[in-house]
Each structure stands twice: as structure tokens, then as C-alpha cells.
Symmetry: C2
Amino acid sequence: MPDKPSITVCDATLRDGSHAYSHQITLEQVRTYAAASEAAGFSFLEVGHGNGLGASSLQVGESLVPEGDMLRAAKACLRRTKLSVHVIPGFATIQRDIAGALEAGVELFRVGCHCTEADITQRHIGHVRSVGREAWGVLMMSHMASKDVLLEEAKKMQSYGAQGIVLMDSAGAYFPADVTEKIGLLAGRLDVPVGFHAHDNLGLSIANSLAALEAGARIIDGTAKGFGAGAGNAPLELLAAVLRQRGYPTSLDFYKALDVAEVAAKLFAGSLPSASGITIVSGLAGVFSGFAKPVQRAATQLGVDPRDVFFELGRRKVVGGQEDIILEVANELARRKNGANPGAPAP
Amino acid sequence: MPDKPSITVCDATLRDGSHAYSHQITLEQVRTYAAASEAAGFSFLEVGHGNGLGASSLQVGESLVPEGDMLRAAKACLRRTKLSVHVIPGFATIQRDIAGALEAGVELFRVGCHCTEADITQRHIGHVRSVGREAWGVLMMSHMASKDVLLEEAKKMQSYGAQGIVLMDSAGAYFPADVTEKIGLLAGRLDVPVGFHAHDNLGLSIANSLAALEAGARIIDGTAKGFGAGAGNAPLELLAAVLRQRGYPTSLDFYKALDVAEVAAKLFAGSLPSASGITIVSGLAGVFSGFAKPVQRAATQLGVDPRDVFFELGRRKVVGGQEDIILEVANELARRKNGANPGAPAP
């Protein structure tokens, strides 16, 4: 099968999985999992807080272990597999967080932002390149922008020095045809490799990853057993299987890539993601999966259906950072339900 | 969305799930689940042993509860939702099993066989039609036959009186393009509605179901939380979501269709299917998922990798009923591994 291009498979288990584990991943878990990832031959292992470098905080959740310790623990287990981090300007500072990650031996910085705000990544991408390390651009919640807007934003990141562009389906809202359209345009029009990062809210993470590969993506993200935010990600063990079946060359040892699922199942038993009515509606509504817990809390408190809250958040096109709107929406639904505001206009 | 056709959604939870529960489903579980299925508005609820009417036996596993009791318990909970059964000639006799099911009020008989053996369904389909009940034809392990062979077999079933034809992906081996090709041909050339029954071994059950709908399928099977053989089926809660998002009319109450997942999660906790290295390789090799347990036993006993056993079974194109070959293959792999037979030709 010499006609298919080689695919870079990125293992985000110890970063996206942080969301599924309330950021309580231990150093022992980092070491055990990193060794399994290295053995499987993934190209990159991403490690850290779910929201990336410097994000550990009361606001979005504190990591159990300091970031530098996690990165050094992982690095010590890696040889062929390179260490990468997720970087969101706003959480991550250049002076403190990127400097610390460089010292810890991080080889790839994936600098992300909301899909229409590429401008904010310029300084971070530029800095990483200026010190001679690899930088990619990541467009999050990419279902909220048209393919033409995404191309424009990706081109900005490329002009800042990004050596790869990843579209994230942060809400798990894509259908395969959407992926084909957007990845196809970017892969055809950018000078750097394009990647895709799936979430499984609608059960389409593997199909969407496959659509991305067929449309020209050369980078694909996954997590062992789908261990990630909301309904989780494209399971690496399934990605390994479809890549093999479709004849894409990779750096993977196939059986050891299957084995990471069992390693993750043991390490994170009881915290593996699973589709629920909440994560499904979150995907249909196109709302960031990380909202699931606060939405459930607000809905219980006010006696409304959390699924109605998600649909309303979707109508308002809410994005990460706007968690305060959750309570406002839940309150309004409760008022409508209780008839306390009968004169309110229909939605 | 008036241009999309109405879809018949079949709930196979209390039949395919029997495989995942070693056929130990209780009457109380039947009643609780059937009430949830009725509330959700599924068109049919299939009930019984995993291998269908009359299959309870030492050979393939004994049901905890007599078939007639399960069917009557379910029937008592159903009003709009119709009761259906899976029928494999060889297990199911007309005199004993179909007669009993008719007495219990079964409304649809889905008569299945290996995908190249439609002939054996003639008498059963004919009998069901002669007593005025509905009969469909089901082609199992359909990935093993070409689209032209499937069309020929389906036409036979149609000539026997089948009022619908369902292709089963019993091994979870299909990719969406395969489904598009086969369902597309059948939907275009048969006079009766065509359906699809997915398994999730490669994580593609929802994508394959979607491909089937887009290619003209009007019937779709699923199970709550994917509760079924091997890696399980297309989860009904996810089917409900994609049907809604794509604008297909159905008889479903959307939120109550999501709720069946939670009902199943509680009723069958600890037995819900999940992809593993074994089920994934089973899908890649195109072997019936129900082989997972005997393959694991044989592999452990002989000290070989169960995944190697599955790949070899796939090369030999083994089908259900040929379980004796499992031990033979495991033995041969053990001999090769231990060098006891160094002169054997390379595979």
C-alpha cells in the first residue's frame, strides 16, 4: 500500500483525559501510561491540565500535580515518542509556562484558541519557533466557523510560523461530510500538514477521523479508550485499527497500540467517558462538552431538564469561558416552566 | 424537512443484549426495559435468546427464563411498539417455536440465515405470511458476500413473501463505503423496505447506520447503550440523535429515546459492551463477535495471543456454527510458536 501517506498519530490521553479525571492524574499514572504510549509508538504524547499549560486554577480546576513534575515524569519515559503540550494564550504565559515546559524538555507546542481568534496565538507561536522548537496551531470549537473563515484563521497561524494546523471538534458536533468539506479545503490550501481532533458526542469520532484522513489530514489525535472531556475522544485503539485496515503507514506497533486501551481502562477505571443524554444533546447543540458538569448542577438546583439548558446554550452560541450564562439560562427556563413570567416572548 | 422518508427504528436490546448477558435476562428486566422502549416510541421491540426463537440450549447457552414467558411479559408492556422475534431456521421450528410465538402475540418474525443461504428461510417466511403475520428476511454476516450475491439472496427472500430485508453486519467489519454500496443496490432494486443492523467493533456503528439511511435504508436496528454481542450494536440513543439532526421523521419521543440508555445502564450494569483488543481484531478479521469468549478460552489454555487466533479464523472465513475450528487454530499457532513443527509451510 505505497500510495497512502504516512500519518502522525498524537496521543492526547494525559491532557484531554485530565478533564475526565477532574485534573487529579497522579505521577504514577503519568509514568505507567507514558511507558505504554512509547511502546505503542505514538508520534507525540500530550501531557498536562485539560485546558493546557498554566491553566490549573480554582476557576477551571486545579491539577493534583504541578505541571513541571508531570512533564518531567512523562519525558523520562519517552524515547521515540515526543512530548507535547496544549497551550492556550490567556492561560499560558511565555515567561512562566512556556519557559518551564522548554526546561522540562517539551518538543511540540500546540497553540490553540477559539476558531475565530487566531491573532492571539501569534506571540506564543513566534516565541516557540524563535527558540527552535516545533509549534502547531489549533483551532478549537471549529464547528462554529465556516470553512472559509477557518482557512483564513489557519493561514494566519501558518504565517506566524505554525508547522501544522489542527481542527478540533470540541463539541463533538461534526458529521463526516462537515469534516470532509473543512479538512479538504485546508489540506488543499495550506503549506503545512493538517490534523483533526475528534470528540465522540454523536458516536462519530472514528468516522469523522476517517473522513479527515480521506480528505487529506496527515495528523490525527486520539486518546486511549477515548479518555477525554465530555463523551471523550476518538479511541486510539480504534484509530490504530482503521488506519491499519485502510493501509495508512504509521509509526505504530499495532498490538501495543491496542494495549493502551487496557492500560487506560485499569489506570482510570470508573472515569472513562460514556455517551449519555447530556453529552449527546451537548453535541447536537454544538456546546463545549466541558460544560456538562456545571449544566447538570444548575439544572438540578433549579428543577429544569439539563438537556433543555444545553439546547438553549446552543441557540445562544455560547463558548468556553461563558460559564456564567449557564445559570442565567437555567433560571429563565425555570421561570418559563413555573409560569412566573407568562408575558415573556416565545423563544 | 418534508423531503426525508420516515424511518422504522427497531429496538433489539432484549435479543442482541442476551448475548452480552449470557442469556440470563430476567422477567423483571424484560418488563422494566419494555416499558421504557414503549415510552420511547420504537417501532418494534425484539425479545428472546440471542440466537433467536428456540435457540436456548446447552450448545449456544440456555436462557434463564422460558421464551414464552419472556415474550408474554414484554407483550403486556407494549401498546404502540410491536413485538418481534429473531428466527433462525435450524434453531426455530415452525410447529413448536413459531406456534408458541404466535400465541404469545408476536407481530413480526425476522427470519435470518447466513447471507448466502436464503433458501433455508422459505418455509418459515411462508408460514408466517400464511397465518397473516409480518415476516422480514435477515441476511447475517453480510460482509462476506458481494453486493450482487446479497441482492440475489434478498430477492429470494422477497419471493418467499418477506416484507422487509435487513442486512446484518454481524462481525462489525463494515466501513461506511461498503454499506453505501450494498444498501444502495438493495434499496434501489427490491420492492420492500431495506434495513441495516450494525455492530460497533470498529467504532463505526453510527456512521454505518447513517450511511445505510443515506443509501436508502428505511429500517434501522439498534440497542440501548449498544447492549449486544461483541462490541455491541449501534446505540439507540445515538441513532435517535443523528436521525433527529439529519431530519428523518420517526415515531420516537426524543428525550425518552435518550432515556433508554440510562434504563439499560442501570438494568445491565457491568455487562455493557466496550471495545477491546479482541473485539477490534474480531471486526478487522470479519469474524462473528460471538466467538470472543471461546477464542479467549482457547488462547489462554494454549498460551497464544487471542488476536492471532482471530486473524487466522478470518483468513479461514469461519462462520457461526464452526466453533470447533477455534481450538484447531489455537493449537496450530501454539505448535508454530513452540517450534514443534519447524518444517510447516509459512502461512
